[in-house]
C-alpha cells in the first residue's frame, strides 16, 4: 500500500511517500522556514502559516515526483492532526483531507508525538515492542512506554521549557542566531563540559518529569554577571557545560524509565535526538546497563513526513480514520 503523508505542525512543510507493505520510505521532502524566522529570533506562527499555504503544493508534488509515484497510485493519505501551531496544522491537514475526499481514499489523522515515538522504526535496525521512548525537540520533552505500534503511555514530560527550547534560548542569550540548538552543540565540541557547574533539575528521586527553565535562568545569571564585570565569555565552555546539564538529565531519566518499565530497549525521537553528545552519552549508559539503543538518522529526528506516513500506516491498520470535518488540535492527548 502506497501512503502519502503530510506534516505541517510547526515551521517545516513536509511530505513523504511510503510503501507500507515493504515499510520503505520512497521520498521524504522537507521545506524549512529557518531563514524566514531567523530575523525574529524565533518562530512567528502567522509567518509559518503563510509559508505553509505557499509550499504545500510544491512539497507534495516534489515528494510524488521523487518517489516516481502518481497520485493515482496512492492508496492512503496520512497527515499530522496535532499537536502544534493550529494555523500551520490546518494547512496540511485540510489539504490532506481534501486530497483523500476527492480521490475516495482513506485518510488518517496522526498525532505528531506518535510520529516521533515511532521514528526509529523507519530504520533497518528497529526496536521490538515494548520499548521506552524519549521524544525530545523544541516543543516537547517526554518519556513514553511503548507497548505496540499504536499503544503508548506517557511516563513523564517537561513541566516548563522543552529541551530544544532551552538550547534556542541559550543561543539567543549568547547571540548565536536562530535556530540555536545546532550552533550550541557545535560550539560545545570545543568546550569543557565540566568548566561551569550548572544545576540539574531532578524533581524528586523517582520523578520522570523534566524542568529546564531553572537551568536556562542559571546560564542567564552566569552570563549577565560576567558581562556586568566586563569579563570575557568563554562561549565554548558555557555551551558545553549547559549541554552537559541537559544531556545528563535526559540520559539518567530515560534509563530510569526503561528500568521502571523493565524494558531492554530505548528509542529516541525529535530534533534534539540528533544531538551528538546526547547520542554518545545515551549509548554509553545503555552499554553499561545492558540496554539496546535505537536512534533514527537526523532527517527522521527533525519534523518529517516519513514518520507521519509510518504512524498513519499503523493507525490505519488499527482502524483509525478521520471524518471530513474533523479539526486539528493544538495539545496532544498523548502528552
Amino acid at each position: 500500500m502506497l501512503i502519502l503523508a503530510i506534516e505541517s505542525s510547526c515551521d517545516d512543510t513536509a511530505a513523504a511517500v511510503f510503501d507500507g507493505k515493504e515499510e520503505t520510505v520512497l521520498a521524504n521532502v522537507v521545506s524549512s522556514q529557518n531563514e524566514i524566522h531567523a530575523r525574529f529570533g524565533g518562530i512567528v506562527p502567522e509567518l509559518a502559516s503563510r509559508c505553509h499555504i505557499e509550499m504545500i503544493w510544491p512539497v507534495v508534488r516534489e515528494a510524488l515526483d521523487q518517489a516516481g509515484v502518481s497520485l493515482d497510485e496512492v492508496q492512503l493519505i496520512s497527515a499530522t492532526q496535532g499537536p502544534g501551531l493550529v494555523g500551520s496544522l490546518l494547512v496540511g491537514f485540510t489539504f490532506a483531507k481534501s486530497l483523500a475526499m476527492v480521490r475516495g481514499l482513506p485518510c488518517v489523522g496522526v498525532d505528531h508525538m506518535a510520529g516521533h515515538i515511532l521514528s526509529s522504526m523507519l530504520e533497518q535496525e528497529r526496536p521490538e515492542y515494548p520499548y521506552t521512548a524519549l521524544t525530545v525537540s523544541g516543543g516537547n520533552t517526554s518519556l513514553f512506554s511503548v507497548a505496540s505500534a499504536v499503544e503508548y503511555s506517557r511516563m513523564g514530560r517537561t513541566r516548563d521549557d522543552a529541551a530544544g527550547e532551552a538550547f534556542d534560548k541559550v543561543a539567543k542569550l549568547l547571540e548565536l542566531g536562530y535556530p540555536g540548538g545546532p550552533v550550541v552543540s557545535r560550539l560545545a565540541e570545543d568546550g569543557d563540559p565540566k568548566a561551569i557547574t550548572f544545576p540539574r533539575a531532578w524533581l524528586g528521586k523517582d520523578s520522570l518529569d523534566f524542568s529546564f527553565s531553572g537551568l536556562k535562568t542559571a546560564v542567564m545569571n552566569y552570563v549577565h554577571k560576567l558581562r556586568q564585570k566586563g569579563e570575557p565569555l568563554k562561549i565554548a565552555d558555557i555551551c558545553a557545560s549547559f549541554q552537559e546539564a541537559v544531556v545528563e538529565v535526559l540520559v539518567t531519566k530515560t534509563v530510569n524509565a526503561a528500568r521502571a518499565n523493565s524494558h531492554t530497549r530505548i528509542a529516541l525521537g525529535g530534533g534534539v535526538a540528533s544531538n551528538q553528545r546526547l547520542r554518545t552519552l545515551m549509548q554509553q549508559a545503555c552499554d553499561r546497563e545492558g540496554l539496546s539503543l535505537f536512534v533514527p538518522r537526523p532527517a527522521y529526528c527533525t519534523d518529517n513526513g516519513a514518520m507521519i506516513a509510518l504512524a498513519g500506516w499503523y493507525h490505519y491498520q488499527a482502524g483509525r480514520r478521520v471524518e471530513w470535518d474533523d479539526d486539528a488540535y493544538s495539545r496532544s492527548p498523548l502528552n
Binding site: E46, L47, S49, W57, P58, S98, L99, D325, D327
Partner: protein, 243 residues
C-alpha cells in the same frame, strides 16, 4: 467555456460558503450553495459542506471545469483553510484553480445603483479592508477602482467625495463611523455577505478569459503584514531615529 461548472469556496469571514455555479454572473446560475453563519471553525464544516453540495447536485469531480477560491482580504486563518481545501481538491481532481478577491464577490451582489460602490470587510484592530467600484454598466459587473485599502473607517470615509453606496459585513461593526457623511448610503450588512456563488461566477470569467491557473504558489491577499513584521519595522525605524 461560457457555461463552465465551478466549485467555489469563500471563507474570508466567519461565514463560510461553498457553491456550485454554472456560467458567469450575467448568464449563469447557482446550482447549489451552502452558507453557514454560526461561529464554528471553518475546518469543522468546510469539507463536509463541499461533499454535501456535490452529492446533492449528483455531480462527480470529473464533471467540474475549475475550482475557484476567495483570495481575501479577510480572516487570515479562514482564508488559508479555504485555500488549502481548494488546492487539495484542484490537485486531486486535476482541475485549474482560480483566486478571486473577496471584495469583488461582494460588489457583484449589489444591484446597479447609478453611483459608486464602496465595499468593506472588518479587518479587526479598528480597521477595515475596503475598495471602491464604478457603478456597473448595463450587462456588466462593477469594476474595481484603485488598490484594496487597509485603513480605519474614518480614513475611508474621508476618501468619499461623491454619492456612494456602502455595503459589506464591515458595516456590522463600523456603521456609526459613516453615519455622519451625507454622501454615503448604507446597505444593511445582513443583505450582503460573502457568497461562494459570486466567487464561482467570477472564477468562470477568469477561465473563459484564458487566465493561466497557477495553483502551486497561490496565496491569500493579506493586505496587512503580520504583527511580527510590523513590530520589527517599527523597532528598526525607532533604532534608526535614535541613532
Amino acid at each position: 467555456m461560457a457555461d463552465s461548472l465551478i466549485l467555489a469556496i469563500e471563507t474570508s469571514t466567519g461565514c463560510g460558503s461553498v457553491a456550485l455555479t454554472r456560467g458567469t454572473l450575467q448568464q449563469g446560475r447557482v446550482l447549489a450553495e451552502y452558507t453557514h453563519r454560526p461561529d464554528l471553525s471553518h475546518s469543522r464544516r468546510l469539507l463536509g459542506s463541499v461533499r454535501e453540495i456535490m452529492t446533492a447536485s449528483r455531480l462527480g469531480w470529473d464533471q467540474l471545469d475549475a475550482v475557484a477560491v476567495s483570495l481575501g482580504p479577510g480572516s487570515f486563518t479562514g482564508l488559508r483553510i479555504g485555500m488549502a481545501a481548494a488546492k487539495g481538491i484542484a490537485m486531486a481532481a486535476g482541475l485549474p484553480l482560480f483566486g478571486v478577491t473577496s471584495l469583488d464577490g461582494l460588489a457583484c451582489q449589489c444591484p446597479p445603483a447609478g453611483c459608486q460602490l464602496c465595499v468593506l470587510l472588518d479587518a479587526r484592530k479598528e480597521q477595515v479592508y475596503g475598495a471602491f467600484y464604478d457603478a456597473a454598466a448595463p450587462g456588466g459587473n462593477p469594476q474595481r477602482r484603485g488598490e484594496i485599502l487597509g485603513c480605519t473607517p474614518e480614513e475611508l470615509s474621508r476618501l468619499i467625495s461623491e454619492p456612494t453606496l456602502m455595503v459589506g459585513p464591515g458595516l456590522e461593526v463600523y456603521q456609526e463611523s459613516f453615519a455622519a457623511n451625507p454622501l454615503i448610503t448604507l446597505v444593511s450588512p445582513a443583505l450582503i455577505q460573502p457568497r461562494a456563488a459570486m466567487i464561482g461566477f467570477l472564477g468562470a470569467e477568469l477561465l473563459a478569459a484564458g487566465t493561466e491557473s497557477t495553483p502551486a504558489g497561490l496565496a491569500p491577499l493579506y493586505v496587512r503584514a503580520s504583527e511580527a513584521e510590523i513590530n520589527l519595522a517599527k523597532k528598526k525605524a525607532a533604532d534608526a531615529a535614535s541613532r
